[in-house]
Symmetry: C2
Subunit: 304 residues, 2 copies
DNA sequence: GTCAGATATGTAATCGTTTACAATAAATCA
DNA sequence: TGATTTATTGTAAACGATTACATATCTGAC
């Protein structure tokens, strides 16, 4: 079908080894031979087959990236960060979205065990630690974004959840707010737990105690923010002075409900978010900025 | 290194052909032999090497997706749409961002000519038509999103630019606005040209003529919206009744400038956008909704 | 009991590279 | 000059699958 290395051999009269050496910039072949081969390559428009190469060299020059379904804006920024450093190192990206644990397992089979990638970056993965370990055991370098597992061939880069939340909470306290609602993330998630922990720590350090009802359940989605806010309003509770949403999506949801209900935001209720997604800037939402793209870049860097 | 087909042969005593048939669900091998092989595969945790497979079958089960650097929100939705149908057909995605024409060429070499993908989806590509044709000539099925080229093995799916813009403009006219500014996209781009054309058509149909100065130059970026708006204000012109931004990013930029300058939006100036990105909903920007995700799904569908 | 046809399995070439090792030619040295 | 080193180039075996073709076994029809 397409032009192969053999075609170059036929045209130039040299062996496959020599041609291969030219393609790979080996210093073994120089001078006129090299020129002849280069000319033939250009003339026949030869390009090595990736599959054959990958098979022979036992590496694919591919970086796998698996994302969970959540966090649209977040996601595209991380990916861009990864792509940037990957491209620099001559890697290409194989990407996929997983919607649940079953998906994740299947994807990992395809990426890791069929050896389609040389390294894998996992964002916010759902699978238990033993799966992570089992991948490392087959020799796959792994980068986990936002999950704190370490080990040989196992890197993890994370958002500074604790520091960020502390900063946000202090900001609210400095403004004199004491009646603060916290819109929490999905329980059991690393990010959510860390952020909640950070809040509590800062509060207790400041000597402020919040009643249990001020910790609203949420799921890091806009909808969950709406639900929590509506529930509060429907119950006839008095409005908090401030709401600290542990991610921006929930903040937006809650704000939306308040505005629909005729409240002025942020005049009547102050808002603090986390993630600083693009939308935040436009709706007057104060938000802790997280260096998302850099996260991706670090991820890319670790997985050489 | 890892478990290969030969290992399964050794363990079961059957030939490579038989094992291969089992992996590929051939109806030729059934009954006890099949069971024995399956057991061995499970026991040794065998998984076929993607590289070897791709080489032997001359196909990779990979779908290439190349995006230009613009349009962050847009991008991630299209990708999700593509991923959805690709996954259903057993394909995986190889993605890349191109920052300029040189990048694009290099990426195409890697994707197409090194045969890393079986089909390619190009979003808003910059390269001239002859490059597109040359890819088709080597037998690569191509899907162009937002570019109207057709041909053998060459599909293109597009946003309904004309219809969308018409709808938006009519909406403004119905509200009685006549002093309307149009924030245009980068000249020479298919999308930008189509949208502008649609505006003019609707205007002339309604018998409205806009002076040349009401067509503001823009580049589909938020910044270009800010620049255009600032320029207008600095020049001391009277505010238009409405601004039709030919994409949402520019609308957001312009809105931002107005609000900073102390104007009330949309009370003093009505806004109309195009794309309906996530942010639009939160800032009171009316916007024409474009079925972005479906675009991706169509793209995925064509490239089997 | 033999033969045609179906069914199940194996043999070996092929896909397009890389690379260890061998071979040859040219250059250096005593 | 002959021996030794160095610089090139070639040979052929991987890499790990798929698949056309050949072979063997088992039906049942006659």
């Amino acid at each position: 079908m397409s032009v192969t290395l053999k075609d170059i051999c036929r045209k130039t009269g040299v062996s496959t080894a020599t041609v291969s050496r030219v393609i790979n910039d080996s210093s073994l072949v120089t001078g006129p031979t090299r020129e002849r081969v280069m000319d033939a390559i250009r003339e026949l428009k030869y390009r090595p087959s990736h599959a054959a190469r990958a098979l022979a060299r036992q590496r694919s020059d591919m970086l796998g990236v698996i994302f969970p379904q959540i966090h649209s804006g977040f996601f595209s920024q991380v990916l861009r960060g990864i792509d940037e450093v990957a491209a620099k190192d001559g890697f290409h990206l194989m990407t996929a979205f997983s919607h649940n644990v079953v998906d994740e397992k299947k994807l990992i089979t395809h990426f890791v065990h069929e050896r389609r990638v040389d390294a894998l970056i996992l964002l916010n993965i759902l699978l238990p630690d033993r799966f992570v370990k089992s991948m490392v055991e087959v020799g796959m370098p792994l980068v986990l974004i936002d999950r704190p597992v370490k080990g040989e061939n196992l890197f993890s880069v994370s958002i500074d959840n604790l520091g960020g939340v502390e900063q946000g909470m202090e900001h609210l306290l400095e403004h004199g707010y004491r009646h603060i609602a916290i819109l929490c993330g999905p329980k059991g998630t690393y990010d959510a737990d860390q952020r909640l922990k950070g809040c509590k720590k800062t509060l207790s350090k400041a000597g402020v105690t919040l009643p249990q009802e001020m910790f609203w359940a949420g799921g890091f989605t806009e909808e969950s923010g709406q639900v929590a806010m509506s529930k509060w309003l429907d119950a006839g509770h008095t409005l908090p002075e401030a709401i600290f949403a542990l991610n921006d999506a929930m903040a937006l949801g809650a704000m939306h409900v308040l505005r629909e209900a005729g409240y002025r935001v942020p005049d009547q209720v102050a808002f603090m978010g986390f993630d600083d997604n693009e939308t935040a800037r436009h709706v007057g939402l104060t938000s802790i900025q997280v260096p998302i793209q850099e996260l991706g870049q670090m991820g890319g860097t670790y997985s050489d």
